[in-house]
Amino acid sequence: MGICLHYITERRKSERVLLRSTLTAILLLLLPFSVSAVYRFDVPEAYLADASALPAWAHTLEKHADERSTIADCMATEEQCDGRLKGLRVILQKGANLEPDKQLKLVNRYINKRRYRRDRRQMSLSVVEGGQAKLRNHWTTLLDFLYRGGDCEDYATAKYFLLREMGYEADDMRVVVSWDRSVRAHHAVLAIRQADGSSWLLELDNTIRKTRQRGYRFIYAINENGIWDHEKQK
């Protein structure tokens, strides 16, 4: 009888130990996902440099500034719009009367309808510097994107430029480059700042991610006012 009781007590003890270690292991596994779950704009120490420090991005900003006159002409008279610009004119005109929430949905869906072009990236990445070919990221303007399409970072920048045309402030938007855990590759999305300092991400699947942003490890972000280094914070 005594041996039997001793056996039961020992078994319960080992079961408890097993349960505790399993729970600890689960908590440890979930820990990285709970860190920096949402992209935040209000981290001043993340500021790294002026936008001009990233030449490819600075060049795209200049090119877009030149192209704004084409968009302005099209907005003034429909006759001056060609091809894709007619559609863009409708989006800008009709979108102006929507609630901010719907404006974001409209822009997200309009841009996500554009053609996905993987091959363009391969061609644009090789930049010859001092006789050496180096891989560099390519950024595109809104008009380039509307006519030619692009890949994920081009969707993000096109949404950025389109929302700028709609009157959104540059300080309230950033193109965020992150490590996407689901595809194990670098990905870019547009983040929109909310009044509480949090952000909404405009995704390629037409959703606007407001809280669950755990699949990303944010690396850096850009807009026309600067570059933010989110790895520096760690």
């Binding site: 719907k102 996500n112 309808k113 560099r136 996407d180 699947d205 690396i219």
Partner: protein, 78 residues
């Protein structure tokens, strides 16, 4: 004599402080340059294609998108 010694100490301290400040500024610039080169070398490669929406989600938004699309189609047909 004391005044000269105190002045010399002040001078040496201020030169040392100025040099330190210069060095930390250089360090900071180097750090930024280093991070910038790392950032520049990150190539966005995720092959995430956008989702094609076939179902109607929001009447108001759908109407605007349809109008924009119709104008673009019209242009490409010409």
């Amino acid at each position: 004599m004391n005044k000269i010694i105190i002045a010399a100490i002040y001078l040496t301290a201020s030169i040392t402080w100025a040099q330190d400040a210069d060095e930390s500024e250089v360090d900071e610039t180097e750090k930024v340059d280093l991070r910038m080169s790392v950032i520049e070398s990150i190539v966005v490669t995720a092959d995430k294609t956008p989702l094609v929406v076939t179902s109607k989600l929001d009447e108001e938004i759908d109407a605007i998108l349809d109008e924009a699309e119709a104008l673009e189609d019209e242009e490409s047909d010409e």
